[in-house]
């Protein structure tokens, strides 16, 4: 990692983590949504560092754009003033913290024990300088069938959502 890369890495990872903390600890859910955009932009920066340029764009457009907007839209249909007690945490919050930290420590130790062959690091990620082309080639040749399956999953989700939300309305 060159110095400038290290700097960028520090900035974007800080963005991602601070954003995530903001999502979790903000009282107002709209603020949470905004922090989530912040965090996702940070993760997009990490993708860029990892030379996944297509996914950087995807992350910003789909996650930071579409999904957060969708959640925000749905929240607008709900009047949070009528719902009391939402800003509090659940009674067992301490246990939640303990379990999460336990998982974190577990994962850290596992990482330190892990051995990865990094001789190929940064290679094979682009064809003729284009990451998108490489990704497309892989997606539509080796992973064509899973790709179609994902399309089916999205369709099922779509139908499921329509059925669920229409049930109450006569």
């Amino acid at each position: 990692m060159t110095g400038i890369e290290a700097c960028v890495f520090a900035i974007v990872s800080l963005m991602a983590i601070v954003g995530a903390l903001g999502v979790v600890f903000c009282r107002n859910p709209y603020h949470s949504a905004l922090w989530m955009v912040f965090s996702f932009v940070g993760i997009a920066g990490l993708f860029a560092l990892l030379q996944a340029y297509f996914l950087t764009a995807l992350q910003i457009i789909v996650y930071a754009g579409a999904i957060v907007v969708m959640i925000a839209f749905v929240m607008m249909t709900i009047d949070f003033r009528k719902v009391r007690g939402l800003s509090k945490f659940v009674p067992q919050w301490l246990w939640g913290l303990i379990i999460s930290f336990g998982i974190l420590i577990d994962l850290f130790i596992l990482t330190s024990k892990m051995k990865i062959d990094v001789s190929q690091a940064g290679k094979n990620l682009a064809i003729a300088g284009s990451n998108t082309k490489a990704l497309g080639m892989e997606l539509f040749t080796s992973y064509l069938f899973p790709f179609e399956m994902v399309a089916v999953i999205l369709l099922v989700a779509l139908i499921g959502v329509v059925v669920l939300t229409k049930r109450g309305i006569k």
Binding site: V90, G96, I99
Partner: protein
């Protein structure tokens, strides 16, 4: 070519799937659909048979089914002279019977179901005949058994039909145990079930083991092919619809045992003892079943006993080592017995389900065509030249004598006499004499869709024997053809003048017909008959009551089985041990459930806690493992 073969075998399965799954919508067309797929199968069989006649063999593994250690069971088909002959017989006769069923079953409940079963049966039968290893054969073997069971119980609301189906299933299953043991022995000694692996190295078997294997396989054949002592299911199987009796219980399935013995010829050739048992059981069954057919009044049951008897003949053929004679009789028998059953079905159709011959008589005026084909078939089975039965039966008896079994030959000749007698007794009773038809019944000739298959089969019954059974260019065509695969196993013992044998068998047949004529046609016949019955009363009683075999089986096997089941297995083992045990296990589970129920709060975040705690534990466990 091998894909053509696969297509030929699979075509009926496609018909079965269409009729089975979409029977609700194919209602009227079900028969035509079923017959069409069989027609395709038959059409595809023709080039295959020609290919086999040219001397080619197809042996192809489509995929590997079971691979376990050294054992490699492929799913493969084999076309050689033996299976080619079966292919021709099965597809042709089934095709005819399917067409006949369109007319016969018309308007019955579950029309599509019937054709789905029938197609499934043909598929299983083709698998049985064409399989290139014992396990594929066994799938077909069980498949036809299952189809036989569901088709006998086709009128499942009728208790007798359901019982008959169960009896058939259980009885053949007893035989299948033997068959399975035989296959296991084969796997043990050869490490393979493929015919091409087993037969070339069959000679490595110790004679003792060869005898065990052949007897075990033959025990399976006695179940499937209704030989003594497991023949009892076949007469009851007549509860099924008549086309089923014709197809399964006369022409194809019950001859599977004969085919299997002929297929295993290299094993039987190693064991003269095993072969002798086959031939003796065959001869005994042929004689025994014929005596039971003598006095019956039920049209279809007479035919059933006659089938048992004729299969006995085939067993004589394959048992003495002349496999081609057994297979030849199998082929001719398929034609004339299917014809007999189908014309009996036509009579039954006309009589609105009545099968008792005492309520018939004089039907030849009402249904002349049925009468004509019935007489043709009876002449064929009685062994009158030049009809087909004559050639095959004569070859069996001739070979039995020449290969050194004079007693079996004698039994065969006596049985031939009885066969002619009871067949013509049936014909005279049904079609001649005065009408005893009950008031209000108006028998009529069958519709054309039924008559056409009858005539086709009748032509087959007349010519098939002559085509394949007459010596041409110094050898008999069918002998040459079958011996490519299963050559005659044992050397000749006696040289006998063939024309003398022919004369003896013709005399036996003609004598039988003459006696039948004398006892039923002339005016003084009833008097003569009653004198005969009085004089030989014990013998007559034995025959009439079928030698009490069913009753003996009942006392020897069924009753003790029931008693043990009820007194011990039910009252003690089931109630006291199993039920009590199961109850306690259930109670423990209930208590445990009550304890664990506390954890089930219904709040989703509680579940989330448990899930993440589980994840933590799993992670920790990994950690402990790598540390």
């Amino acid at each position: 070519m091998e894909w053509l073969l696969l297509l030929c075998v699979l075509s009926p399965a496609v018909g079965c799937i269409i009729n089975g799954l979409f029977g609700r919508w194919t209602y009227r067309a079900a028969g035509v659909i079923g017959s069409t797929f069989l027609g395709i199968s038959f059409a595809l069989a023709i080039p295959l048979i020609i290919y086999a006649i040219q001397g080619h063999i197809i042996d192809y593994d489509y995929y590997h089914w079971i691979i376990s250690g050294k054992l490699d069971v492929p799913f493969g088909l084999r076309l050689d002279s033996l299976s080619a002959m079966m292919l021709g017989v099965v597809t042709f006769v089934s095709f005819m019977i399917h067409i006949y069923s369109i007319g016969y079953m018309g308007g019955h409940k579950g029309y599509a179901r019937f054709f789905a079963y029938l197609n499934l049966f043909v598929f299983a039968m083709l698998l049985l005949c064409m399989g290139n290893n014992y396990l594929t054969l066994f799938i077909g073997w069980e498949g036809v058994g299952f189809c036989s069971y569901i088709l006998i119980g086709y009128y499942y609301e009728k208790k007798t039909a359901a019982d008959a189906g169960r009896k058939a299933f259980v009885t053949t299953r007893i035989g299948d145990v033997g068959f399975t043991i035989g296959i296991l022995f084969i796997i043990l000694y050869f490490g393979s079930v493929k015919f091409t692996d087993i037969f070339p190295q069959a000679h490595i078997l110790p004679p003792m083991i060869a005898t065990i294997i052949t007897l075990a396989l033959f025990f399976g054949a006695t179940g499937k092919s209704a030989q003594f002592p497991l023949y009892v299911w076949l007469p009851d199987a007549m509860e099924g619809p008549t086309p089923v009796s014709a197809l399964i219980h006369a022409a194809t399935m019950v001859t599977a045992g004969v085919y299997m013995v002929a297929r295993s010829a290299p094993l039987y050739a190693l064991s003269p003892t095993g072969s002798l048992v086959v031939a003796s059981i065959g001869a005994f069954t042929a004689f025994f079943a014929a005596t039971m057919a003598l006095t019956h009044f039920d049209l279809k049951r007479i035919l059933a006993y006659s089938t048992i008897s004729q299969i006995g003949y085939m067993m004589i053929g394959v048992g003495v080592g002349a496999y081609w004679t057994g297979m030849f009789h199998l082929m001719t028998h398929a034609f004339f017995k299917a014809l007999l059953f189908l014309s009996a079905g036509a009579v039954m159709h006309a009589m609105h389900g009545i099968l008792d011959m005492r309520l018939m008589g004089g039907l030849r005026h009402k249904m002349p065509q049925t009468c004509a084909v019935m007489i043709i078939a009876s002449l064929a089975i009685a062994g009158i030249p030049p009809l087909s039965g004559f050639f095959s039966k004569d070859h069996i008896l001739g070979e039995a004598l020449m290969l050194g079994h004079p007693i079996i030959w004698m039994v065969g000749v006596i049985t031939a006499f009885m066969t002619a007698y009871y067949m013509f007794r049936m014909v005279f009773f049904t079609f001649f004499g005065e009408s005893r038809v009950p008031e209000g019944l108006h028998p009529h000739e069958a519709p054309n869709v039924m008559l056409v298959p009858l005539w086709v089969l009748a032509v087959g019954s007349i010519v098939v024997g002559a085509i394949f059974g007459i010596k041409m260019h110094g050898h008999i065509p069918i002998e040459h053809f079958i011996s490519l695969t299963s050559p005659v196993a044992f050397p000749k013992v006696y040289e006998v003048n063939e024309s003398l044998l022919i004369i003896i068998s013709i005399v036996a047949g003609v004598l039988g017909i003459a006696v039948a004529w004398l006892s039923y046609i002339p005016k003084w016949a009833p008097k003569w008959r009653s004198w005969f019955v009085r004089t030989f009363h014990p013998l007559y009683r034995c025959c009439f009551n079928l030698w009490w075999v069913d009753e003996v089986y009942n006392c020897l096997f069924c009753r003790p089985f029931w008693h043990v089941s009820e007194r011990f297995l039910w009252k003690v083992v089931d109630d006291k041990l199993i039920d009590a045990g199961v109850d306690d296990v259930g109670r423990i589970a209930g208590l445990a459930g009550k304890a664990v129920r506390i954890l089930q709060t219904g709040f989703i975040n509680n579940y989330a806690y448990w899930v993440s705690a589980g994840a933590l534990i799993v992670c920790g466990w990994y950690l402990l493992k790598i540390m």
